[in-house]
């Protein structure tokens, strides 16, 4: 029996996606245990929110999952609107869906690139960022910002989208469906080494999905049909026709196929939303001072990484008494140890990559 070795992966390590620290115990190349250690990016978001008025909280939400800022705002404004009992105009709802789905594509593109990078395939990374750039251009046109948008407002969205945005979005969707996806499939999907590395590694059973509270592509990759857009439609998702991306493998490859499929489905949703975009206002009737009645509310949406839940307790003042951010990355990250036990060090990197963590969201 040889001695085991403790290996500290991170917080400074090329493929821990930020400041994740993994306390790994290895026997040669085999992993005995891999415990994630988090908290290096904790910024007291939830506590800070207690000292801010409801509109003031919004920019902070951008900074939790900074790879998918739009959907964070989406969850927060939905929760605040439910608390305040506000109506949102139909046009604003459609714009919100367009932005959220564009954001899902942008998020999955970043994930695609970094996932390939974890296996030392550098080229897909640069391709993915080239294409994400076009989505950021769209966001810039709509909101003026490229990463932290503050575009959603309680009661609507900040600014209407113009004809040029619609044209650019259509152009991007054509480009994405006809060029990007086929190119990615040629680049990575059928690659034998890629298949060897991802198929059968990082297996998560459907039981583990429930035991660890996994959601999003992590659950759907294990064959659990759970997509909040489908199961509990919010905003205007019930008006669009799209399929839930599902795979039954439970391994890294299954999660890869789920996310690739999801990008295509997002493109479908955006097309429908652009076609059926109603006319009208983009901001509803919102009082100058937001003072919700005392009570509590929980709203969850399908963020790119999984179930993003916002729980707000109001004491009747202008500031939330308590705000809880149920971040999908945080819950999904827990499964690291169960999914990698007994595998090789190289698989650990790939499996953590397939979880798609953003440490800003894990630590908040």
């Amino acid at each position: 029996m040889t001695d085991t070795m403790h290996l500290n992966m991170g917080p400074q390590h090329p493929s821990t996606h930020g400041v994740l620290r993994l306390m790994v115990e290895v026997d040669g190349e085999r992993i005995l245990s891999a415990k994630p250690d988090i908290g290096y990016l904790h910024r007291c978001f939830e506590k800070t929110a207690e000292g801010l008025t409801y509109p003031q909280v919004l920019p902070y939400t951008d900074r939790t999952d900074y790879v998918a800022a739009m959907t964070n705002e989406f969850a927060y404004v939905l929760a605040a609107e439910k608390l305040l009992g506000l109506e949102v105009p139909a046009r604003a709802q459609f714009i919100r869906v367009i932005m959220a789905e564009l954001q899902r594509m942008a998020n999955h593109l970043v994930w695609f690139g970094t996932f390939a990078l974890d296996m030392a395939a550098v080229t897909p990374f640069l391709y993915a960022f080239r294409d994400r750039e076009k989505i950021l251009d769209l966001f810039e046109r709509a909101s003026g910002a490229r990463l932290t948008y503050s575009y959603y407002r309680i009661g609507g969205v900040r600014k209407d989208i113009d004809a040029e945005f619609v044209r650019m979005a259509r152009e991007f969707l054509d480009y994405f469906e006809n060029q990007v996806l086929p190119e990615y499939h040629r680049l990575l999907t059928g690659n034998r080494i890629f298949e060897l590395r991802t198929q059968g590694t990082g297996y998560i059973s459907p039981e583990q999905v429930f035991a660890y509270g996994l959601s999003g592509p992590m659950a759907r990759g294990s064959g659990v049909a759970w997509d909040i857009r489908k199961n509990e439609p919010y905003s205007s998702y019930d008006r669009f026709d799209f399929e839930m991306a599902l795979a039954t493998g439970g391994d890294n490859y299954a999660r890869y196929t789920v996310r690739i499929k999801e990008m295509a489905e997002s493109a479908r949703i955006i097309r429908q939303a652009l076609d059926g975009l109603p006319e009208g206002e983009v901001m509803g009737k919102v009082p100058r001072v937001l003072k919700p009645p005392a009570g509590e509310v929980y709203v969850r949406i399908e963020a790119p990484k999984g179930e993003l839940g916002v729980f707000i307790v109001s004491d009747g003042s202008t500031k939330p008494y308590r705000l809880k951010w149920r971040a999908p990355s945080f819950s999904n990250l827990q499964v690291t140890e169960a999914a990698t036990r007994g595998e090789k060090v190289a698989d650990l990197v790939v499996t953590v990559g397939s979880i798609d963590v953003v440490l800003g969201e894990v630590d908040r």
Binding site: P14, G28, M119, A120, A121, Y127, V345
Partner: protein
């Protein structure tokens, strides 16, 4: 006493050193190639046109860096490892025929010399990995040692088949024997050799000992400045020498066809085509896992290499080649 032979061999040795150092240009070439594969331009700023002086800028940067030796390192192992890495990379060039007469020393055991010298580089990986006293480094070192046998055996076996065809261990004789390039007679042998050679070079998809996304930088994690540059340079020198050996053993070395170019030009054209292919592979493929590499070596490359030897024997028996 006749001083000419001595002087002549010194000049030849110096030419080889110059040739190897000139290959530092490949750093710039690879960055440009990688840029093109990834839809960007690569280095553009240092030197016009197209940042040709990038290598010099890199070199100045590396030279001016602080020479760091970790406090816990095994000092002598740590300091010696880059030199041990660089020496075999230089030695290989001694037997490679650049032209019919352009060879430093046409050893009559050239092929054996090459296989002996190239497997030396693993020693430097192990020295640096062990000497650094770093967990990632030592994992890289163990990987390098573990994978050595799996690709070295098929590599040597595919070279044996070439020797069987040529009937000589001298590289120049092997080139002279190739009225038909040997790749035509044994494509399997060439494929085995190519895959095993890329594994020997420690380049993606077989860069397990370095494995940036897993082991930070593997065996050279603790190295910086010129010591690191020596690892880097020897990697490029090895890439060129492996390509040169491929050109020599399987593609007729300095033998030309169609165009009446000088033999050395033919040799360099063939060599750099392989350098390009190796870079192409690197920027296209993901990395394999250690057990997958061992499987590939023992379960696929080795039987194929043996099959190739049997095939070569059959060729010799039937066609009296």
């Amino acid at each position: 006493m006749d001083w000419w032979p001595l002087l002549w061999s010194i000049i030849k040795a110096l030419l080889i050193v110059v040739f190897v150092l000139a290959n530092a240009f490949l750093i710039w070439v690879e960055r440009k190639i990688a840029g093109r594969f990834q839809r960007r331009l690569g280095p553009m700023r240092v030197g016009r046109p197209h940042g040709w002086a990038q290598t010099f800028a890199d070199l100045i940067k590396l030279l001016s860096k602080e020479d760091v030796v970790p406090g816990t390192a095994e000092k002598w192992l740590f300091l010696l490892a880059p030199i041990v890495a660089f020496l075999p990379a230089l030695l290989v060039y001694m037997v490679i025929p650049f032209g019919p007469t352009w060879v430093v020393n046409d050893l009559n055991i050239g092929v054996i010399f090459i296989s002996a010298v190239t497997s030396f580089s693993v020693l430097s990986f192990f020295m640096s990995g062990w000497g650094s006293n770093n967990k990632y480094s030592v994992m890289g070192a163990f990987r390098a040692a573990a994978q050595l046998m799996s690709y070295e055996v098929p590599l040597v076996l595919s070279m044996i088949a070439v020797v069987m065809l040529a009937g000589s261990l001298s590289l120049n004789d092997i080139v002279k024997a190739q009225s038909i390039p040997f790749v035509v007679l044994q494509p399997l042998g060439f494929l085995t050799f190519f895959i095993a050679a890329v594994a020997e070079l420690n380049r993606t998809p077989f860069d397990l000992a370095e494995a940036e996304s897993e082991l930070v930088a593997g065996y050279n994690t603790e190295y910086s400045g010129m010591r690191w540059a020596f690892f880097f340079l020897s990697e490029y020198a090895n890439t060129v020498s492996a390509s040169a050996i491929m050109a020599t053993l399987f593609f007729g070395g300095w033998r030309g066809f169609l165009l009446p170019l000088p033999p050395v030009v033919w040799f360099l054209i063939k060599t750099y085509i392989f350098v390009f292919i190796i870079m192409w592979v690197r920027w296209t493929l993901p990395r394999v896992r250690i057990d997958q590499l061992l499987n590939l070596g023992w379960k696929l490359l080795l039987p194929v290499a043996l099959l190739n030897i049997a095939w070569t024997g059959l060729l010799g028996l039937v066609f009296k080649i």
